[in-house]
Symmetry: C2
Subunit: 140 residues, 2 copies
Amino acid sequence: MPIVAAVDQSERAELVVTRAADLADAYGHDLHIVHVGTLSVGNLATESTQDSEDVDEASRAAEEVAREIGQRVQPDRSFDAIGLVGNPAEELIAYSQECDAEYIVISGRKKSPVGKALFGSVTQSLLLSADRPVVTVMPQ
Amino acid sequence: MPIVAAVDQSERAELVVTRAADLADAYGHDLHIVHVGTLSVGNLATESTQDSEDVDEASRAAEEVAREIGQRVQPDRSFDAIGLVGNPAEELIAYSQECDAEYIVISGRKKSPVGKALFGSVTQSLLLSADRPVVTVMPQ
């Protein structure tokens, strides 16, 4: 029952990975660092035999993002880097079910350009649809 | 750094206490079960020397709610029962700061009368204001 750390490419990913590693240590579980990439609008608009290659490429790129963040934040520990493609909340929930995650760890909010705290839309979707506990970490 | 389980008087409190106890075991931390009570509108409207007595009474009643839920869900473990009075999200955040909680555990959502998943307003306020990780548990 791994701990799933859902990271984007913002500085908030560091807090998410740090907290997920802490939970993995407390429970003695594996750490899975997951990034959900997207296809560009051009790719999405194309219905061709290229589609699955595009998805494979986007998935490899997303996995590389996850790996780089993990190696930067937790250079001395082992983890699995996972790249997914699609709707972030849906993909995260499906992956967490597949690996029977104990927790999904995600960033709870971000600041708007004027400094107001904003609730993340991916977080809100997860909280409305997840079938397991979600840990939201809180950037100041 | 205790685990704070925030309970209301719904059946969702059982999931919150069970998960918070699991976290407390994993980390070797204390479990604090917290219920935030409210003063009745009548009490709130009265500005008199009775006010602090009313708050004391509401606080004792809230503590009793927390204790009963804890004893029902986790009859064989020790925990602290805490009763607070006021705005639930504000009181929970202030208490979690005071005791330097490792996590605040809360119910993520509930069902509307027609079965639609609804996001809890206390949860949303907490996620916008808390300065530490919030674990939301997910009733099916």
